[in-house]
Symmetry: C2
Subunit: 412 residues, 2 copies
């Protein structure tokens, strides 16, 4: 069975994972789904990334009378608001949730990414071309450590994606963020609430930037995963045991992600599409760029896991043609450790050191459980053949991934 | 001019960088040098990695009457000793120093690695075959976080390197470290002093380990660099601004490393040869395996640096065919920050977070100075195209590397 899930105010939820929202689609294990996703940064350049696009326009629609998707974030839904409904506690536009029939806690959902395609502009001035936005933002690693004036500052860089040959992205222009007033009259001096439309008249566009620089594209989904069990509405920002905002550029075409199912139905959502990102996502975002993915969802029942790759899996696992990766976080399950308030406080104690510790433990478990190595074998192998990298330092719950190449293993 | 620098007690120094030891060789800029290096772990399996090898035997020679290289480490040289002369404050066997004529502080030394070759066993039982040792050691990331008994423990795994086709390494056997008594009667309950010969009768070799596992080889030099200015004898363990124990597996054939010269003559040394290592060097070591390198040393005078890749360089820089990498450390120059005692205390405050900070700043400087980007351009580019990885978490001064691919830049 092949489904199509377009973006619309009814098929997206903004800024949170949730087991409590109405499913956008219900599928069976083995079904394929084409899923449109929108970047929550599209309004950084409305004319290139929203205007003329019926799906994007329907989702981003926001006037003083009508806000198509009012709640943005897991925060309060009754005012008065500081930033807006949901308070921006979570920022990513996610398509879904997709309920998988028969999924239960203890199962594992395999998400195969069969293809990833850019979403072209529908504005006649840019027809068929694809654009993305990079925000060097207040949550970036650089924000309190800048050397040029004014300090601090947030900067938006608009990129164009060229997919005619080997896909690359080139910068079009950038601008320093200036206070933006939303249709409800709230002024946003920084990027503190998603989907605020930047008024071009209020910013100074600098052209001719990053000359001769071409960024190799790495189309992928920054945020993808299942609804956690711990709370009904969970910020989309900190990644956790059921996935979410992992921000690994390897989660692209050909990849398979495995997620432990935490709630009945699994409640799979995907968004935060990226055209390119480096390990660490240093400035706070990737090239945030609307994409459409082709997915196949395969449910692995708890009883069938022993003896497979998925035995004992209680965290996300990536499989590509070349490697397996596990994801360590500052807190493996920050909701369990910090409680629901962790959604906003987790960033206060963000550190790579415990994330490295978590990644080490997860990869050791994988090698010992799945590859039947002794602890001594696993540690020797990790030391000489596993690569640990900085996934991100910008998502509150910082990430270190540990990867082991498949070629290391002969036939089992 | 082509030189050959063999290993011998006169051409190695053990466990430290030094501006004060007699040069093993003096070269001119542009000269080539074939340099033999020995792993300081060769005595983990004496019969495979030392026996019959005149160079290795001459260096490792140690009886109650004669210790060919008495000082091992930057520690005290007058007893009584806890571990031995030099006290193991620094462990790597380094070949050199090689003095470069005319090198002065402020210059940059470029070290081109033209080739890297394994050093075959000279023992008739293993003739022509190459071996290495991996130690899951007390300074490893896992040591206080083990799950199997006995805890804690150190484990040696001996690997054989197969270079007939695509080079790979396979485990031969492993053993848990047991107390070893050195020729001076000192008992080493852990791996606390380099070059102690393991008595095979005291350990239990476990064969048939890591079955069907083949580790892709990454021949490289873990420790390479110049003598720092801050002290006469500096532990080889913590990497710093003039290089040293960086432990990046990318420092292999075809790579160029650039080091700021800190003392007149540069005093280049190289060792800590590795057959393979993963990013993080998790257990404490790589596959430590004696190698011979073919090097070309090119001196770049301070006055010639402006406008080049090396302008403003005050830290190591890697260039390969694909990328440039900078190295962030917990402390960019731990000797300057912590004083000479930092050689032993730096590990107490080891953390990836400041190393990430340091790598970010160094890569930003590189992009702004060398590639003439504004800070905003540099940060956007880093966020979308630079990859930060965990170089090592075992060398006291922990490391994060930041890499940017050359293909990002068009013709300048």
């Amino acid at each position: 069975m092949h489904h199509l899930l377009r973006v619309s105010p009814q098929t997206v939820h903004w800024g949170y994972f949730s087991k409590a929202v109405a499913p956008a689609l219900t599928v069976r294990s083995g079904d394929r789904v084409t899923i449109e996703t929108l970047t929550h940064h599209a309004n950084d350049d409305h004319e290139r990334m929203v205007a003329g696009d019926p799906g994007a326009e329907s989702v981003f629609a926001w006037t003083c009378e009508h806000k198509a998707v009012p709640r943005r974030g897991a925060g309060p839904t009754t005012g008065p608001f500081t930033y807006g409904e949901g308070e921006g506690v979570g920022v990513h536009l996610l398509t879904g949730p997709v309920v998988v029939e028969g999924a239960e806690p203890g199962d594992v959902l395999e998400v195969r990414i069969l293809d990833v395609m850019p979403r072209p502009s529908c504005n006649h001035a840019f027809l068929g071309r694809s654009f993305g936005s990079n925000a060097a933002a207040s949550w970036g690693f650089q924000y309190r450590d800048l050397i040029e004036e004014p300090k601090p500052r947030e900067v938006i860089t608009i990129f164009e994606l060229d997919t005619t040959a080997e896909p690359t992205a080139r910068a079009v222009y950038n601008y320093v963020w200036t206070p933006q007033t939303d249709p409800d009259g709230v002024v946003h001096p920084t990027i503190d609430y998603p989907g605020v439309k930047v008024d071009p008249a209020t910013v100074r566009r600098r052209e001719d930037i990053l000359r001769n620089v071409q960024v190799p594209a790495r189309l992928h989904f920054g945020t993808m995963g299942l609804a956690p069990a711990e709370a009904d509405f969970v910020s989309s920002i900190p990644p956790s045991y059921s996935g979410g905002n992992i921000d690994d550029w390897r989660v692209g075409k050909g990849a398979r992600m495995y997620y432990p199912v935490a709630v009945a139905g699994a409640y799979f959502s995907v968004g935060d599409p990226h055209a390119a990102q480096g390990d660490s996502e240093l400035g706070g975002t990737a090239i945030e760029c609307s994409l459409t993915g082709e997915f196949e969802l395969v449910l692995h029942k708890k009883a069938d896991l022993p003896g497979t790759l998925l035995e004992g899996l209680d965290h996300p696992l990536l499989e590509t043609e070349e490697l397996w990766s596990v994801y360590g976080f500052t807190y493996a399950n920050y909701l369990a450790t910090l409680g629901p308030e962790g959604q906003t406080t987790v960033a206060e104690t963000a550190s790579l050191d415990p994330a490295m510790r978590d990644a080490f433990r997860k990869l050791r478990r994988f090698l010992m459980t799945v590859h039947k190595l002794s602890e001594d074998e696993a540690i020797a192998l990790m030391s000489v053949a596993a690569d640990f990298g900085v996934t991100q330092v910008v998502d509150g719950n910082w990430g270190v991934h540990g990867s082991i190449r498949k070629c290391v293993f002969g036939p089992r």
